[in-house]
């Protein structure tokens, strides 16, 4: 079945269509220029169905336009009484049978890909990540590696990764359009999907199931790295013991007083998840998923998270209710957070992302 699919994809017509469609959208966000297995498989079905449906549309439009030109009152005369035709059995059969055949053409790849994308046979030998969706952020726990991170999911290129997903509150949906289609993250049961990225880079992930005030700001990233980088990253995360400079000492103390009860800074922490794990924060591609990575934005987030993500869980933090952190102290906390690094430098993809992407928010 897979070979057959491969052949279809190589048809020049298809590549031509892909070329047109790839002109649409941002390269690490759009579903129209897939860079992962799931997105490619879905794209195949999308293209098959667009082609078949376009044929139908063209047929309808040809008849429609012909009729509109030929049988207008102006053409046939004011008083013309047309023959009162009852119908035509042959025609009825034709426009019943041909659509059925066309639908079969769409149905076959649809079903094949549906089963293919639900394949769990390689689950045991693959990287397994437990994904938890929360209003309005994502927690990622690497089951076998025993590390935890949030908001930015690191995976090795060309490697199948299984995601076991559950929600802590309402329903969310995990969607990285360029890599794979989406899967709901329910509070009731664990849903499993796999992703496989074919190109290194940082890809935008979106929450696709309406989940409350900041649903539109529940962005996350998938960071696709080389196998070497991935192994180094995992090793570093398993041993997050950052050394702080003197400048960060005050921030560390403030953090220990006001933040640590919700935010772990140790990637191997097994405490119950309350707020995002901030280990390796200094190597993040973005702040809060939707702000450029710089200190100014981080200070703003610490002081006023409500205006950036309305309704988020941090709004109940004691320090905000008591208004007990000054701008200067927030700046010290920011200094500390930006020194939280598992590896000396961010991976190349993140470096590239920080340099080239900007959402310009203030």
């Amino acid at each position: 079945m897979k070979d057959w699919m491969g052949k279809i994809r190589t048809l020049s017509l298809f590549s031509f269509l892909v070329l047109i469609l790839s002109a649409c959208g941002k390269e690490n966000l759009t579903a129209l220029a897939p860079k992962g297995y799931g997105a490619q498989q879905s794209m195949t079905v999308i293209i098959v169905s667009i082609l078949v449906m376009t044929v139908v549309f063209i047929v309808v439009m040809i008849i429609f336009l012909y009729v509109m030109m030929k049988f207008r009152r102006k053409k046939v005369g004011e008083g013309h009484i047309p023959q009162q035709v009852e119908g035509n059995h042959k025609l009825e059969v034709i426009w019943t049978v041909i659509p059925i055949l066309l639908l079969i053409i769409i149905a076959i790849p649809t079903v094949a890909v549906t089963y293919d994308l639900a394949d769990e046979s390689q689950m045991e030998d693959s990287i397994n990540i437990n994904v938890t969706g929360l209003q309005f952020w994502w927690n990622f726990e690497y089951a076998n590696e025993e590390i935890q991170t949030s908001q930015e999911l690191y995976i090795p290129v060309d490697e199948r990764v299984y995601l076991n997903m559950i929600s802590n509150d309402v329903i969310h949906s995990f969607w990285v359009p360029t890599i794979s289609g989406k899967m709901d993250v329910n509070p009731d049961n664990e849903n499993t999907m796999y992703i496989e990225a074919h190109e290194e880079g940082v890809y935008w992930g979106k929450c696709a199931e309406f989940c409350g005030d900041s649903h539109s700001l529940m962005d996350f990233k998938i960071v696709v790295v080389s196998q070497d980088e991935y192994d180094q990253w995992v090793a570093a995360m398993q041993d997050t013991d950052p050394e702080y400079t003197a400048e960060a000492a005050e921030g560390q103390e403030l953090f220990a007083n006001s933040c640590i009860s919700c935010h772990a800074i140790d990637a191997s922490s097994t405490n119950p998840v309350v707020g995002p794990n901030l280990a390796d924060f200094g190597n993040r591609a973005m702040i809060a998923g939707v702000r450029d990575f710089n200190k100014e934005n981080l200070v703003e987030w610490i002081l006023d998270p409500a205006s950036i993500k309305p309704g988020n869980g941090m709004l109940g933090a004691p320090y905000l209710e008591e208004n007990s952190i000054s701008e200067e102290e927030a700046s010290q906390i920011a200094d500390f957070l930006m020194e939280l690094k598992a590896t000396e430098e961010p991976v190349d993809s993140v470096e590239h992302f920080r340099e080239n992407e900007s959402v310009h928010s203030n």
Partner: protein, 619 residues
């Protein structure tokens, strides 16, 4: 002084009283038209606010919380309070006339259905003024809806429950009417297609609405009485709501679109001067769509994690619906083929519908492909698709019906020039708004997004979409001007201004309150056309002139609905303060009291006497 004369020349107050108590299907149709029209404007304003918010990235025109109320109420209002009642407006105005009946089977129930819908609709919107309307999306997925703070979702639950009861009554009423009250000779296979589609839609209402009722009751108990049907942590299941909602929700789409198909079938046949091509196939396609409509609900849930077997089955079942829908499109095209096509405003809407709806059907099949839907689902692609079918299908149908049936309902013809301007502005605005959204979705824009970030390649598409929405807004204003202008001018037209084919055009416009002085004899499909081609002016009567039995007006439906409204408020606020339980008892007391009065007091109606009818004929 007879009852005939009593109906003319009344003051403003007595006209209001007449409409509050009427059980006449034609007046109830006008009530549905006004109320549905009002909610259509309200939902339209909400849509415009949404499009202003999305006109540029990171806009702050409205807050996140208010935006969520806007999208929720836009969807809920448009489906339940605009599209459904407007469909009912035309079903009421036309179906009894098309089958040659003097009223619907249960005129009292008809009135009750309307007032329940109206008070339910008002209840839904009360939230705007009391601290926030519903904000969990029109689909109200649990647990977001069950945990939503405030009373917004409570209004949604009670409002929909009350208006849904009205709709269910309407559906049952039309089923009985169409089965029992057809004129002599009006066999099933001679019924006009609008009547057929109203019939099938009513059957769908009968089977689909109970699923919503059950779902809403469970949600009501979860929100107000601490049950945990949808709470996973307590052993409930939140996905059950999605099943219940879509077991109702998918047939609901066909409840809306089938009568619109019916309206188009009437218009296309009339203005092509041709019998509907493949009438039998059209009828069977309608029934088949109605039947399959119940088999496909889970295609709204491909990403829920049902597994590949369920996804595949529902994918293929959904694709199957394209076949009867395609049959319909081709039969309309071949009705036009060889016809004498007159293009006026009603026909423009019908002709604009064909390509628009075909695009909606195309994307429908694309969405049915489960493994492709993983990309489309919950994005603007879906928004684009269902607006193509609901605006391009249902709304176009309602606007076509407004122009086509206006003479029958009001005795005047809507201005053609303004009508054509409305059509072109709306048609262009519609495609501008929604075509680009297919691409926005695939470019990574999920639905129900309050803001989109800068630099995501989504700016231009959203701007175009917003501009299109304003064109539709302007078109709607011109339509309103048209209605006012036509009403002020008040130029009366005859019984049959379109040279049409079906029974409703055989009686005066607007029809007398008893519709048919003598029930007509139906001799085939398109009965009026048959008589006209044989040189007769009108229908041949099937009975001698005799007394006509008519139902009495009643104020009970209005009071009963007020009772349910008060009880609804009581249910919502007893959560805060148990004193509100008194409102529940008072409200339910009023409603049940009305039922008791209705049950115990004989209301035998009255007769219009033969002599009065003869006297009227001479005048």
């Amino acid at each position: 002084m007879s009852t005939l004369v009593a109906n003319e020349k009344k003051g403003f107050g007595s006209t209001i009283w007449d409409y509050l108590t009427t059980v006449d299907h034609k007046k109830i149709a006008i009530l549905y038209l006004i109320a549905g029209g009002f909610f259509f404007l309200l939902g339209g304003l909400e849509a415009l606010a949404i499009r202003v918010q999305l006109i540029k990235p990171m806009n702050d025109f409205v807050s996140a919380g208010f935006y969520n109320e806007l999208i929720t109420m836009h969807g809920t209002t448009m489906i339940f309070l605009a599209a459904m009642p407007l469909i009912f407006a035309f079903m009421n105005a036309v179906v009894p006339l098309q089958i040659g009946a003097r009223d619907v089977a249960f005129p009292f129930l008809n009135s009750l259905g309307f007032w329940l819908f109206l008070f339910g609709g008002i209840l839904l919107n009360v939230g705007w003024f009391t601290g926030g309307a519903a904000d969990a999306g029109w689909t109200a997925y649990t647990p977001l809806s069950t945990t939503s703070p405030g009373h917004g979702v409570d209004y949604y639950v009670l409002g929909l429950q009350i208006s849904g009861a009205g709709t269910l009554m309407g559906g049952i009423n039309f089923l009985v009417t169409i089965i029992n009250m057809r004129a002599p000779g009006m066999t099933y296979m001679r019924m006009p297609l609008f009547t057929w589609t109203a019939f099938v839609a009513s059957a769908l209402i009968l089977f689909a609405f109970p699923a919503l009722t059950v779902g809403l009751f469970l949600m009501m108990f979860d929100r107000m009485f601490d049950s945990v049907f949808f709470d996973a942590a307590m052993g409930g299941n939140s996905v059950i709501w999605q099943h219940l909602f879509w077991i109702f929700g998918h047939p609901e789409v066909y409840i809306l679109i089938l009568p619109a198909f019916g309206i188009f079938s009437e218009i296309i046949a009339t203005f092509s001067k041709k019998r509907l091509f493949g009438y039998t196939a059209m009828v069977f396609a309608t029934v088949l769509i109605g039947f399959l409509g119940f088999m496909v609900w889970a295609h709204h849930m491909f990403t829920v994690g049902m597994g590949p077997a369920a996804n595949s089955i529902f994918a293929v079942a959904t694709m199957a619906i394209a076949v009867p829908t395609g049959i319909k499109i081709f039969n309309w095209l071949f009705t036009l083929w060889g016809g004498n096509i007159q293009i006026n405003t009603a026909m423009l809407w019908a002709l604009g519908f064909i390509p628009s709806f075909t695009i909606g059907g195309m994307t429908g099949v694309m969405l049915a492909a489960a493994s492709a839907d993983y990309q489309y689902h919950d994005t603007y692609f879906v928004i684009a698709h269902f607006h193509y079918v609901i605006v391009g299908g249902v709304v176009f149908g309602l606007l076509a019906g407004t122009h086509y049936f206006w003479p029958k309902m009001f005795g005047t013809i809507l201005d053609e020039t303004l009508g054509k301007i409305t059509f072109w502005l709306f048609f262009i605005g519609f495609h501008m708004t929604f075509f680009i959204q297919h691409f926005l979705g695939l470019m990574g824009m999920p639905r129900r997004y309050w803001v989109f970030l800068e630099g995501q390649g989504l700016d231009l598409g959203n701007l175009i979409s917003s501009i299109g929405a304003f064109l539709m807004g302007i078109a709607t204003i011109i339509l309103l001007i048209n209605v006012v202008k036509t009403s002020v001018k008040n130029e009366k037209v005859g019984a049959d201004p379109w040279d049409a084919r079906t029974l409703e055009w055989a009686i005066p416009s607007p029809p007398p309150f008893y519709n048919f002085k003598q029930l007509p004899l139906v001799r085939g499909l398109d009965p009026l056309w048959i008589e006209k081609t044989e040189g007769r002016k009108g229908m041949t009567p099937a009975e001698p002139l005799g007394d006509i039995h008519m139902p009495n007006n009643s104020f009970l439906p209005f009071i009963m609905s007020v009772g349910f409204f008060i009880a609804g408020l009581g249910f919502i606020y007893q959560k805060d303060n148990l004193a509100w339980l008194s409102a529940v008892f008072i409200g339910m007391g009023i409603a049940l009291g009305c039922m008791l009065v209705r049950s115990l007091k004989d209301d035998l109606g009255y007769h219009i006497h033969k002599e009065d009818l003869q006297k009227e004929a001479k005048e």
